[in-house]
């Protein structure tokens, strides 16, 4: 029985395939594969070949992710577990995979058809891979946030905001000033020891696992001139939450997220930053926020 171990944001994941199947991973996952074995993984993912017909029913819908153009996935109550129907992003309404997650958010069973080219099973293909990462954070002390993150050697800074607010631009400006880009789109923030850390996650391109100690969270927007304001309390918490990945069908999940974000804001400064996209914003932020 094939087993592959991954380490993502410090969480250990064990992928297990059926005896007559082989697991394959997209290129972006290879840097996160760890050699050897773990006796106590945080998450176990069993991969099965084929999608059973009995799982195709769409009863007890609790959450949907879709827009005007396409469906991404739907979540259903499935006995004592959750059932995820994942849609192919190239072929409308085609079911790509079905996944079952237990109520402890620990054990996944992913049903997937073999790849037409190599006959292997790709359990973590998009969009299910990022969905699995999100549920690490539901289970443990962490959040997943739409954000870029940079590390200057001492301090990790997070830049977040809605689409188009300049997260990637900001990351590039810091990179030009000598910082390392942790990621320019999606981060996991987790509690570690006395503080918090930011981590990248596997993307569609290969990139090494990276992390940094979290120094500040900056909620950014485009502006004619640079300006910065410190946020606190409910304003900081609610503004951060709107930038996070949220599956808000269960009060437990929302309360867990609120609690964790609240603990972040008690320790980590949160700023609202208006910026003009040139390198002057780097010194502007470090002069004000350290």
């Amino acid at each position: 029985m094939e087993r592959i171990f991954l380490s993502i944001a410090g969480f250990t994941i064990c992928l297990i395939a059926d005896e007559d199947s082989k697991i394959a991973l997209d290129d972006g996952y290879f840097p996160f594969v760890i050699p050897g074995q773990s006796n106590d993984p945080d998450i176990i993912i069993r991969t099965k070949k084929g999608i059973p017909k009995e799982l195709l029913n769409k009863k007890h819908l609790i959450f949907e992710a879709k827009n005007e153009l396409r469906k991404y996935f739907s979540i259903y109550q499935h006995m004592e577990s959750y059932k995820f129907i994942i849609y192919d992003q190239q072929v409308e309404n085609k079911i790509q995979q079905i996944a079952i997650l237990d109520r402890e958010y620990t054990n996944w069973v992913i049903y997937t058809n073999p790849n037409e080219e190599d006959n292997n099973l790709y359990p973590l293909q998009y969009p299910l891979g990022p969905i699995v990462f999100y549920y690490f954070t539901v289970k443990l002390d962490a959040i997943m946030i739409h954000a870029s993150g940079v590390f200057d050697g001492l301090k990790g800074r997070v830049f977040s905001g809605f689409s188009g607010t300049g997260k990637s631009t900001m990351a590039e400006l810091w990179q030009k000033s000598g910082s390392l880009i942790i990621n320019d789109d999606r981060l996991i923030i987790r509690k570690r020891n006395a503080g918090f850390e930011i981590h990248n996650t596997p993307m569609f391109y290969p990139d090494m696992p990276k992390m940094a100690p979290l120094h500040s969270i900056n909620l950014i927007y485009h502006s004619k001139g640079n300006c910065i304001k410190k946020l606190s309390g409910t304003e900081a918490i609610s503004r951060i939450m709107t930038c996070c990945i949220q599956h808000d069908y269960d009060k437990r999940i929302i309360e867990h997220q609120l609690s964790f974000i609240s603990s972040i804001t008690e320790q980590i400064p949160v700023y609202e930053v208006g910026f003009f996209p040139n390198e002057k914003i780097v010194d502007f932020i470090t002069d004000y926020a350290g």
Binding site: A65, K66, T234, S238, T242, D248, I254, S262
Partner: protein, 93 residues
């Protein structure tokens, strides 16, 4: 909508008290409107707690007047304004 009906909507929100304020996040079944998060200040927080399925609007007005040491007229205005705002929030979720 009366206070009893508003109470039925409370279970559709997760909440957290932060200092003297209360954050409300609606339980949702889709990814739309993930930025709809509401914050209630001291008086609003107090009224939210008093919507318990047992208190009438008059009971809540009386409690607000006592708690915040204001006259009945002021308490009535505050409670009615808050309940109207809450009605707008819960019916749009």
């Amino acid at each position: 909508m009366n206070v009893s009906e508003l109470y039925n909507y409370k279970k559709h929100f997760a909440s957290r008290i932060v200092g003297e304020e209360l954050i409300l996040v609606p339980v949702k079944s889709n990814v739309a409107d993930m930025d709809k998060i509401f914050t209630l200040n001291g008086v609003g927080n107090f009224i939210w707690e008093k919507i318990d399925g047992k208190n009438s609007e008059e009971d809540i007005i009386h409690e607000v007047a006592n708690e915040f040491d204001v006259g009945t007229e002021t308490a009535t205005m505050d409670v009615k304004e808050f309940l109207n705002r809450l009605y707008d929030i819960v019916t749009k979720i």
